[in-house]
Amino acid sequence: MKTLEELMAIRDKTKQRMTVREDTGDDAVRIVVGMATCGIAAGARPVLNAFVEEIAKRNLKGVTVTQTGCIGMCQYEPIVEVIQPGKEKVTYVKMTADKVARVVNDHIVNGNPVAEYTVGAIEK
């Protein structure tokens, strides 16, 4: 290593890998994936991992992906909740890994919840 640029490159690369350990505070966006037995059986694990990958790929700051237990609507699993401070919680149901990219792009990045994936759309 001979330059500051090389050092900073290692810093940025490792930092991104370590974002999961940052204390994001109260203004963070939280993506909560239901990971009880029902959720796991319905395929929540690939969904969870797809969120982690997508957020890392886009290098989004202040977004955490966590798990939670059974929300109670087991027939709609995998269920994902997106909680943004000061906004209504949005609940996505019957999620798949394929749907993840669109949720991240439309909702997390651009602020437009994907209505057709939400619990409201499916209950109609």
């Binding site: 001979k2 330059t3 500051l4 050092l7 290692i10 810093r11 350990r21 204390d23 991992n49 237990g69």
Partner: protein, 595 residues
């Protein structure tokens, strides 16, 4: 990309409470559940809250699990890591509140702390240079080599007001400037990691939790003072610290951050580790250098000071681990930033190892000027079992004690010296009403008698005589004249010893005499030990009104000193009694009395 990081403390405290087996079990369980690609286990350095070890933090939730056992691991993996259900029963109770889980930073133990030297401990993987770099590691070195002249680096350290954290409190920048001013074909940097005070483990924790910051700081010191070689003198009793430091040195060499032409600046620097065999005197700077040279660890007279004639008779800068740990942050954030913390003459923060009669045993880092009361009552969580605070011992065998009446003294170098105490390296042992101050002084004298290297007479013979006098007092055989002689000998040893060990050895006696003379007098005149510690001066008896004649004590007494039949009042034969206290612990009615 891992979705979750599990940090397990791998400091010495948690390792000795079995964290290595926990990590092993964790990794096995994670592999078994097929989560190896999703969850990463990281072994970190000390979190500071050693009383609650082994400690585990799970991110992104930031759950702080304490006192984890190997048997708890399957539950953590199954419930938390697989299903996302936090194992509430293992959470640190300070973080659990009725309606929410507080973050660790908000708990009493951490909220008042300000971590500079310990900033990466418990945060990064100490065996991974990339993680150190991610937290701005080696940027300070790059800044020095690319933008600053050696003189400017020395000036920044001077302006910061940093003082030696090993105990002496000598201004670090000034020390560096002395070495820099001396011309020589070879100069050295030495890091003193021979932490020997009973109860102190700040330096060990820095080396275990953040070894790269020492590598970086020593390299910066080398650049500033014109040295091209450095030695870390660390005790062999710190195997984890030694191992991680060696890994750090190897990784730094691999990245070209040690070796020839660092950052293409033309500056060369390399580091070596030397293991100490655990002699307390080798923490004294001249004895330490003598030991590195391969000789018997004995001090030599100063002057000449190490800045003129140090290691291998070349100009040498020697600093303590914690002092070095502050350097990269000072360079990165500026002297003003550092000087904004602390008091007028003591800048920055200080790490203390809390031990003794206190709830949160562990490591705390606080800004200079914090009062002892804040450390003990707020951060430390107070004295357990509802006992009363009596005194805090600082500075180990070279230090003194702070009595309850001076608890509101803001802690810094000068305030402690003013009350006849010293900062020392940062061991802080809390004592309650059950501690006998004469016994404490004797304990530290025991230590110095063992550790005196024997080179000079005042220390070798003086400390031994001092110890005998204390024994006479705790045996109840001393007279008030002995007390005067004791004090006289203390001053004689202080004035005539060759090195710091002897010059400070009488401090525990003088400090306890100053604040707790009444306890000494009680031993001598009344032949009693107020705290009930000194065996020769206590006696056990049975309170006839409370004794139910249950025979429990008589059955437990190892020497058969208790007599009495069932439902009859028992009595203790004082001739046979060995004062072990078993009867007192056994009695359910509080009938055994110690006087």
């Amino acid at each position: 990309m891992y979705r979750s990081h599990v940090l397990v403390c791998g400091g010495t405290g948690c390792t000795s409470s079995n964290s290595a087996a926990i990590i092993e079990a964790l990794e096995a369980q994670i592999a078994e559940k097929g989560l190896s690609d999703e969850i990463k286990v990281i072994r970190t350095g000390c979190f500071g809250l050693c009383a609650l070890g082994p400690i585990m933090i799970v991110y992104p939730e930031g759950c702080f699990y304490s006192q984890v056992k190997v048997e708890d691991v399957p539950e953590i993996v199954e419930e938390h890591l697989l299903k996302g259900r936090i194992v509430t029963r293992l959470l640190y109770d300070e973080t659990v509140h009725p309606d929410e889980i507080k973050s660790l930073k908000e708990t009493d133990f951490y909220a008042k702390q300000h971590r500079v030297a310990l900033r990466n401990c418990g945060v990064i993987d100490p065996e991974n240079i990339d993680e150190y770099i991610a937290y701005d590691g080696y940027q300070a070195l790059a800044k020095c080599l690319k933008e600053l002249t050696p003189e400017q680096v020395v000036q920044i350290v001077k302006d910061s007001g940093l003082r030696g954290r090993g105990g002496g409190g000598f201004p670090t920048g000034l020390k560096w400037s002395f070495t820099a001013a001396n011309q020589a074909d070879q100069k050295y940097v030495v890091c003193n990691a021979d932490e020997g005070d009973p109860g102190a483990f700040m330096d060990r924790s820095v080396l275990e939790g953040d070894p790269h910051c020492i590598v970086e700081a020593m390299t910066i010191c080398g650049y500033a003072t014109g040295a091209t070689e450095g030695y870390v003198y660390v005790r062999a009793e710190y195997p984890i610290a030694v191992k991680r430091l060696q890994i750090a040195i190897d990784q730094a060499r691999e990245y070209g951050l040690l070796g020839k032409n660092i950052f293409d600046s033309g500056f060369d620097f390399d580091l070596h580790i030397r293991l100490g065999a655990g002699a307390f005197v080798c923490g004294e700077e001249t004895a330490l250098m003598t030991s590195i040279e391969g000789n018997r660890g004995e001090p030599r007279p100063r002057p000449p000071y190490p800045a003129v004639k140090g290691l291998f008779k070349k100009p040498t800068t020697e600093n303590n681990v914690e002092t070095f740990a502050n350097i990269p942050q000072i360079i990165l954030n500026g002297a003003e930033w550092f000087a904004s913390m602390g008091t007028e003459k003591s800048k920055g923060t200080k790490v203390f190892a809390l031990g003794g009669k206190i709830k949160n045993t562990g490591l705390v880092e606080i800004p200079m000027g914090t009062t002892l009361r804040e450390i003990i009552e707020e951060i430390g969580g107070g004295i357990p079992n509802g006992k009363k605070f009596k005194a805090a011992q600082t500075g180990g065998p070279s230090g003194g004690c702070i009595p309850a009446s001076l608890m509101d003294t803001p802690i810094d170098y000068d305030n402690l010296t003013a009350i006849g105490c010293m900062m020392g390296s940062g061991g802080l042992i809390v004592m309650d009403e059950d501690n006998c101050m004469v016994d404490i002084a004797k304990f530290f004298l025991d230590f110095t008698v063992d550790e005196s290297c024997g080179k000079c007479t005042p220390c070798r013979v003086g400390t031994k005589r001092l110890r005998e006098m204390l024994e006479k007092i705790t045996d109840g055989k001393a007279t008030l004249e002995d007390l005067d002689k004791l004090e006289e000998l203390c001053y004689y040893i202080k004035e005539n010893s060759l090195c710091g060990l002897g010059q400070t050895a009488p401090n525990p006696v003088l400090a306890t005499l100053k604040f707790f003379r009444d306890e000494y007098v009680a031993h001598i005149v009344d032949k009693t030990c107020p705290a009930g510690v000194c065996k020769k001066l206590v006696s056990y008896s049975i309170d006839a009104e409370k004794c139910k004649g249950c025979t429990a004590c008589a059955r437990k007494c190892p020497v058969g000193a208790i007599s009495g039949a069932v439902k009859e009042i028992h009595s203790i034969d004082k001739e046979k009694c060995i004062k072990c206290g078993v009867c007192m612990d056994t009695c359910r009615f509080g009938a055994v009395v110690k006087k």
